[in-house]
Amino acid sequence: MTNLICIVCPRGCHLTVDEKNGYKVTGNGCPRGEAYGKNELINPLRTVTATVKIELSGSVKYCPVKTSAPIPKKMVMDSVNLLKNVKLKKPVKLGDTVLENIFDTGVNYIATKTMEA
């Protein structure tokens, strides 16, 4: 049995996961909590947010980005480091892909803000 605090929403339910009983989750307030509890012990995932450089009309700014889906927790740090080499040169729209296919996960980094000149 493992006790976890659910991070799916601000409610922070106290979950108990029974590994020996098919990862049965109790204490969850919604189905998303059940999925989280199970996943957290089998393959923990995180959505990552960061920023990338963007050069628009001569001045460098920072564009906020996020992973288009959660990625394995162990890749979080390395995935942020990938962004250090990215510099956007054109205006971006919210949702535009900034970096494709992070470590072959099929997940992209996408812009979370529309940034025009």
Binding site: L4, I5, C6, I7, V8, C9, P10, G12, R46, T47, V48, T49, A50, T51, K53, V60, K61, Y62, P64, K66, K73, V76, M77, V80, L94, T112, K113, T114
Partner: protein, 436 residues
Amino acid sequence: MKTEYDVVVIGGGPAGMGSACGVKEKDSTLSVLILERDSTLGGILNQCIHNGFGLHYFGEELTGPEYAERFINRVKENAIDVLTNTMVLDIDLENKIITVINKKNGLVRIKSKAIILSMGCRERSRGAINIPGDRPSGVFTAGTAQRYINMEGFMVGKEVVILGSGDIGLIMARRLTLSGAKVLACVEICPYSNGLNRNIVQCLNDFDIPLYLSHTVTKIIGKERVEAVEISEVDKTNKVIEGTQQILKCDTVLLSVGLIPENELSRNAGLKIDPHTNGAYVYENMETLSSGVFACGNALHVHDLVDYVTAESIRAGHSAAEYAIKKGNNTDDSNNSLDYKGTVVSLKATDGVRYTVPQFIRIDNIGALNDKVDVFFRVGQPHKMCEIQVKTKNSVITSFKRLQTVPGEMEKISLSKKLLLDSETDEILIGIKDLD
């Protein structure tokens, strides 16, 4: 430029944008202006690049900039006027005249039928909590560091100690770690964390950052730049326990030690401020004690979630719209015919409850008997298995059970018009009672 509006909104963050959209939702013909001192709308959401916003209001998980952009688009779609880079200098509450200044228009007076105060809040700083020691560079409030890193692209330090476990501090612990800094510890004077549990898990535990509860920073050491901090354990009365001091070598200290509603303008204008919330006193419809002036968002009381700010602001917007419409139909220039003459119930926080918002309810303004007024408040201490009691001087009129309540999470109860009428009182107390 246009200098007469039906509703003027001060502040273009989530509360300002939400309330402006609320006005238009009620009546799209009303003219609305948002005044914002920064160069863009969005307020603090622009620097909150992490996710977790919007679950309640949009039903999906968004980052701060995404949440802001949705409202910025709504502001555009609703043809709401916006003046950015514009500072409000003064508000004349009585005549609803707002004095503003900006580079393009200079000093301008804007006349409005109704005003919405949505200036947000400020962070408590080192001065507010009197940390002893040297005064080197390298001491930042967590929000300032957040703006530097996320928007301006400056790193604030390499080895960091965070004082306070508020959500911004926790979020910054993660952000700093991902940006290459080493966060040595998060130090919290209370025996419990003031941030959301999920943030303890995903921001501290995920990166093995220790959380020292019942500890505080007792000295900042360093000549030019922070070189170390001394942290100490405290007892139940927050007094330092001698002999528990330890030195943590670091170059940066982040403070996440609370937020204070920003009401310099409101105070100067003579608006009555509740010393418990540091925001205006309000009625059930978010109207302040100055008629036609409404308040919402973190300028009114500090919220945990932007979703709640949005809900509250939209209500303030609806109320301001109603006021502006009545005012427009009213040929008499005085406020007399708009004044409320029915019963006013005042809500008082007691027994473990720190404040309530609203503080006053005008019963006749609630529509049907079954219609409800939502009352928000915070507890002073964590409680397990307790009930929120709604009382008159003599008896408990209703109660709400809770498995747990913590100071870091805003509580909400709903009181029906029927309940308020049946209690036949003009003062209702709200308190916490522990259950065995």
